[in-house]
Amino acid sequence: MNISRQNIYLLTLSVLLLTFVLIFSFAVLIPNGKEYRIKRAELKKESRKLKQLSDFAYDTSTKLQKLQGENRHIITAFSTAFSVERFQKQHRSFFTSLKLSKISKQENEGEFAVYEVNTSSEISSPKSFYNFLEAVNKSDWIVGVNFPINFKRDAEMINSSFTMKVFENNKDSNASK
């Protein structure tokens, strides 16, 4: 068999180039391809997790907005600082006279600050007091009428004295949130 030198060169070159192609493919390209697939799968997994999380965040946000909408009055009332003047102005109509003493801070109730206000008033009939108790639930603050309540007849009027507990957001605990 007579193979020319030219053909031997050609064959050697072909074998060398083919070897390079094979080594490059198996040593570099295929492992890289595998890594590509792993990274793609990881990204898909994370994206699925993100989708679930963002759905949950949307649900939570909807729930929060609904709660805020339904409890707007309560939320505002808790964040409003109690004002003796404003309270007197708003509830004076139920009494012949209404006096509120200085506010004293009580022990906190959980995350809420509690203030106590002593009240003395004069009413013409118990009905006025019932109306006051109804109105206090709709006032600008969270106010609970507390014991002891004292009613004392004075001619045609009734002198009443009672304490009120005012509940507010505790600014210290809210600031730390």
């Binding site: 030219q6 060169y9 050609l10 070159l13 192609v21 490059f24 570099v28 390209l29 890289n32 391809g33 890594e35 590509y36 990274k39 793609r40 990881e42 990204l43 994370e46 994206s47 997790k49 993100l50 999380l53 963002s54 949950f56 965040a57 939570t60 946000s61 729930k63 929060l64 709660l67 805020q68 409890n71 309560i74 009332a77 808790f78 109730e109 959980g110 995350e111 809420f112 118990p126 007091f129 019932y130 108790l133 109804e134 206090v136 639930n137 969270i142 106010v143 609970g144 009428v145 014991f147 002891p148 309540i149 004292n150 009613f151 004392k152 007849r153 507990k165 509940f167 957001n169 949130k177």
Partner: protein, 173 residues
């Protein structure tokens, strides 16, 4: 001086066969390199996107935590306000019932409503009216009832009625 009649042809290492071989392998190797570069680029992009997704997840988790804390706080506000409003309503009904309880023949001069009791001061025409018309219903409500009478000039009696609910059963009311 010329030794051949034909023109010498230029010899080159790049014969037609070699050229064909190089073209074939250049295209093959070129495609392989392009694939490699594509894979590297895509891997880099995946890594980058994954980092972004993880950061987004982290932000979302933080925002969910804040929202949950807000929800819990609103629920606490709701529970407390409901309790206060209910207490006010119960108090209103209790005072209403108390004044309804007092018969027309008895005149109250003072009423002290305590957390666990009730003290009434008033005037009754006689002890029987007080005992049957006021003390009887008070006994049915309170656990301990004490009454004192003081005669006054017109033959009527001034009375002090002290009524208590025992601590252990207070929660039932």
């Amino acid at each position: 001086m010329k030794y051949s009649y034909i023109k010498p042809r230029t010899k080159t290492a790049l014969t037609k066969d070699i050229q064909l071989l190089f073209t074939f392998f250049s295209v093959t190797i070129g495609m392989l390199f392009l694939t490699y570069v594509f894979l590297l680029f895509k891997e880099y992009r995946f890594e980058e996107n994954r980092a972004e997704v993880i950061q987004e997840e982290k932000d979302l988790r933080a925002s969910i935590k804040i929202m949950k804390a807000k929800i819990t706080f609103i629920e606490k506000q709701n529970i407390l306000s409901e309790r206060v409003f209910t207490q006010n309503s119960v108090l209103k009904d209790s005072i209403h019932n108390l004044f309804d309880l007092v018969p027309g023949r008895i005149t109250l001069s003072q009423a002290k409503i305590l957390e666990d009791g009730l003290i009434l001061y008033g005037i009754t025409p006689n002890k029987d009216v007080y005992n049957f018309m006021l003390q009887a219903p008070l006994r049915s409500i309170f656990h301990r009832t004490y009454s004192s009478f003081y005669p006054i000039e017109n033959g009527w009696y001034r009375f002090v009625s002290t009524n208590y609910i025992d601590e252990e059963s207070k929660n039932e009311y």
